[in-house]
């Protein structure tokens, strides 16, 4: 009744091609973004910022990156952690050696470095497909993990192998509270998400999806596999690299290569599976899911009044994750984003049953 398209005719293709063709959607998203910028800071406390909002936003960027590569272009990659590491350590080294560089440029530099490495490690995809490619991406993951742990130059010869960043400032304003960090991360996320959405709606997105659905037929209409795959690797790694730099600088503060190990790769992959492959919304939903579930599980014992050891909680977390992934795949292989779309479909008819 309230969520309808009847009576709202689009009078141009331009209107039909907008990100949110349905007016209610548009208002909802604009409202949500406005609330995120203006409303949240009014009541959010430190815990909400540092444990929920900032991680979810940064991981969403990584998830968007992997979604572009795996969800839209169909190239299964298990190397996300390694590319995040490239971003993190590139940013670290630039900030270390050219301390006056604007922090936004530092993050962009991280993205570019990750992009270059991503293109390099993406070259095998021209010859290798499917699970073979997934395993090949593990080669990049393990190599990069090892490189940042062993090549001392990357960590500035730190004896412990871990590095830290000191104060960060943007145009003279120090980013020293969780609130300010949140705004910075939110702004970057909104810009990057918008750019990604534009990309996947364009001929480039169609090219990627064609590659995913039937690469043989894609060639027939003039798409060159090299162009399609490497561009996917490039854009994907750019996003993942920025996410890595943001994670290191604004979430961790100090880190070691273990922060970007193969478990991180799987974490990002799970986000896009649960959230929905091939959707931008799914990247956000999946990231939120992956961040919130452990928090919820951690609180559960105290809510139920039972005492469980941390080791046991971690085991239960594993079990629950595994079970949820299987559950999702059986029930809705297209993830939370599809469930959301189905809910919207039902909403169009509500309150009528059909």
């Amino acid at each position: 009744m309230f969520y309808r398209e009847v009576g709202r005719f689009k009078t141009s293709y331009k209107a039909d091609q907008a990100i949110f063709p349905i007016a209610q959607d548009r208002w909802f998203v604009i409202g949500l973004v406005a609330f995120a910028f203006l409303g949240v800071p009014l009541f959010a406390g430190q815990y909400l910022y540092t444990e929920v909002l900032i991680p979810v936003l940064i991981l969403s960027i990584a998830a968007i990156g992997l979604n572009i590569l795996t969800g839209y272009c169909g190239q299964l990659s298990l190397g996300s952690g390694g590319f995040m590491a490239v971003g993190a350590y590139s940013a670290y080294n630039l900030a270390l050696r050219l301390p006056e560089t604007n922090i936004i440029l530092v993050f962009l530099f991280a993205g570019v470095m990750a992009m270059l490495v991503g293109i390099l490690f993406g070259l095998p995809s021209l010859r290798i497909k499917g699970f073979y490619l997934a395993v090949a991406t593990l080669a990049s993951q393990f190599f990069l993990e090892w490189a940042f742990a062993r090549v001392k130059w990357f960590t500035n010869y730190a004896p412990s192998g871990s590095v830290a960043v000191s104060r960060i400032e943007l145009f003279g304003v120090p980013i020293d509270t969780p609130g300010k960090t949140y705004i910075l991360v939110l702004a970057m996320t909104v810009v990057l998400a918008l750019a990604a959405k534009n990309l996947v709606r364009s001929w480039i997105g169609r090219m990627w999806m064609a590659m995913r659905d039937m690469d043989v037929a894609a060639e027939i209409i003039g798409i060159r596999p090299l162009h399609a795959k490497l561009s996917a690797f490039a854009v994907s790694s750019f996003y993942i690299g920025i996410a890595g730099a943001l994670w290191a600088f604004l979430r961790l503060g100090s880190w070691e290569p273990l922060a970007f190990d193969v478990n991180r790769s799987f974490q990002v992959l799970f986000m896009i599976i649960i959230g929905g492959l091939g959707t931008i919304l799914g990247s956000f939903l999946g990231a939120a899911f992956i961040v919130l579930v452990p928090i919820f599980l951690n609180q559960l014992p105290s809510w139920l009044g039972i005492a469980i050891s941390t080791a046991m909680i971690s085991h239960i977390e594993f079990m629950l994750f595994g079970a949820m992934i299987v559950f999702f795949l059986v029930v809705e292989p297209h993830g939370l984003a599809r469930l959301w779309a189905i809910a919207k479909e039902k909403l169009r008819l509500w309150p009528f049953p059909y």
Binding site: V135, R150, I273, H315, M319, G322, V326, L329
Partner: protein
């Protein structure tokens, strides 16, 4: 000069046979159902945990028998709860499902069996043997435990290879791997086949778990052994049993040789903080191979027909 190289080579080959066994578990499942079973490592860990804990209070033979039953029950559960409900989904969906199973098993195994480090004592001899003392001064050092483990694995691999080549089960498996629906329509009992294959894979995981567990101790990191088996798989080809054998040997030997001889060179050349290249060397080796032969040494050529 040849002595140390040969010694390292033999050590690597023996380890390689153990890799082959883990890889074999993958190959069986992939051959039979087209599923890349990421949970194989978790199965190895789960099996090893079961055996280690059970053998704490019963004779080894009983512990083994019970562990076999445990793995069979596990195979049934996986088939019933997961595989049956994902018939005819694309490969990537099934792969992700095995990721989920892997996570679940790791949590579950440690929940019921505990998460300490456990020992498996199989009564294998531990004193090193020296061979070829006449050819090389002092002889070449071989760990007899490794030798016995390798022999057991080799026997298992051969038995399974023959079984699947020769029997009607093997043929049925190949049909199933090709097309679930088509196999069903000619009357192949999909569910039973999958159960059988996962059970056999579970047994393979158990033997592998016992061998590796005796070598390294049973702990969480055992599941990472599966990650080592991936290079074996892609080098040998996902669908090939001989590939798993040859791939395992190449990876095992290559890795050991790189660790002992290549790593010190790199450390000196690039001023590295220690070696550890065995973490990625196997993968790089397999990757290079793949670029030359994208389907692995013995894998099936993917022919695109339009």
């Amino acid at each position: 000069m040849m002595g140390p190289v040969l010694e390292t080579l033999i050590g690597g080959l023996l380890t390689g046979v153990l890799y082959s066994l883990v890889a074999l578990g993958f190959v069986l499942i992939f051959k039979a159902s087209g599923v890349f079973n990421f949970a194989q490592g978790a199965m190895v860990l789960f099996a090893a945990l079961s055996f280690a804990r059970l053998s704490e209070f019963m004779p080894l033979v009983f512990a083994f028998a019970l562990s076999v039953l445990v793995m069979i029950a596990l195979a049934y559960a996986i088939e019933f709860l997961v595989l049956r409900r994902l018939v005819n989904q694309e490969g990537i969906i099934l792969f992700m499902a095995t990721l989920g199973i892997a996570y679940f098993l790791e949590g579950f195994g440690q929940t019921i069996w505990g998460s300490d480090v456990y020992r498996i004592s199989l009564g294998l001899p531990t004193n090193p043997i020296f061979i070829l003392e006449s050819v090389f001064p002092g002889g070449l050092l071989i760990d007899p435990a490794e030798l016995i483990a390798a022999t057991i694995c080799a026997v298992m691999v051969l038995v399974l290879a023959v079984f699947f080549q020769v029997t009607w089960v093997g043929r049925a498996l190949r049909a199933v791997a090709d097309d679930h629906q088509a196999a069903q329509s000619v009357g192949i009992p999909l569910n039973q086949i999958w159960f059988l294959v996962w059970a056999v894979s579970g047994l393979v995981a158990l033997v592998a778990g016992m061998m590796w567990g005796a070598k390294l101790g049973v702990q969480f990191s055992l599941s990472l052994i599966a990650l080592k088996a991936f290079p074996v798989l892609i080098l040998g080809g996902l669908t090939s049993i001989p590939g798993a054998i040859v791939g395992g040997l190449i990876i095992g030997a290559g890795e050991k040789l790189a660790e002992v001889f290549l790593a010190p060179l790199l450390v000196r050349a690039f001023d590295l903080a220690g070696g550890g290249i065995e973490n990625w060397f196997a993968y790089m080796l397999a990757l290079v191979f793949l670029l030359v032969r994208p389907q692995g040494l013995f894998g099936e050529r993917i022919i695109e027909r339009v």
